[in-house]
Symmetry: C2
Amino acid sequence: MTQAQILSKNQQIVLDIIEKARGPLKAYSILFNVQKKGINAPQQIYRALDKLIKLGKIHKIESKNAFVACRNTDCEISKATAFSICENCEMVDEISDTKLSKYLTSFNKKGMKFKRFNLEFFGLCKKCK
Amino acid sequence: MTQAQILSKNQQIVLDIIEKARGPLKAYSILFNVQKKGINAPQQIYRALDKLIKLGKIHKIESKNAFVACRNTDCEISKATAFSICENCEMVDEISDTKLSKYLTSFNKKGMKFKRFNLEFFGLCKKCK
DNA sequence: ATTATATATGTTATATTATAACACTTTGTT
DNA sequence: AACAAAGTGTTATAATATAACATATATAAT
Ligand SMILES: [Zn+2]
Ligand SMILES: [Zn+2]
Ligand SMILES: [Zn+2]
Ligand SMILES: [Zn+2]
């Protein structure tokens, strides 16, 4: 049984903001939102983000340089991530599909066994199409 | 039959450098390499990169903010990309796997049909493991 | 051939994203 | 208590990317 991780003050502040957000947040937009809470410098944000990513609490959307909360309890800590991204609005949805995940986790190429993957799908969401 | 695309001067310069490179190149490293050829500003690089991406001649490795030449003749112009990336050295290999590509191209979620995807696998390459 | 249209270029300035380095504090272990 | 590990605050700077504007070249119509 894994111990519930206790987050530090800054880590909790950053996670709260990302979890409350309706879409992906950028590091500097997080920074502007927490200056009232005494966080003043990008480093403080990036350090919290790095830790939260390692813990699997959030993920980075690489194509957007933005961060979303993980809504996926059985998400193998940042090892296998897939997202659907609307090219029109900002919507990002984490895909939780066991078949897809198994298929990709067991995928290997030229004897190279992968430790991790990130998959980003692009299209138009329901609202936008 | 699609007409072979004729590239502009700057586009050709940038493509040549990326094709010659053994690994992914970053925009500013391209810039430093072409200053002898009269290209002086990041804009000139980024504009060429944008066009080359649209043409499917190169791809962006989102997790590295770097660019690689497409070695894949049947690569559907930037619509379906997959890469294997070594976490130790800089090695990036474009994956050309018809089954994988078909599986992902036909993947859809909650009625959302995707137009495009990008998949990045991470691990250790032969040399590094 | 002349006009129109789209595409490309050159340039300066600036915005955005991310890390380095250092001094200090808090937390957990032995 | 002594030590090690993780977290904080801060200043400075590096790396990545775009805005805006003036001009030039290529392509396609008329
Ligand atoms: Zn997740
Ligand atoms: Zn949308
Ligand atoms: Zn390709
Ligand atoms: Zn390697």
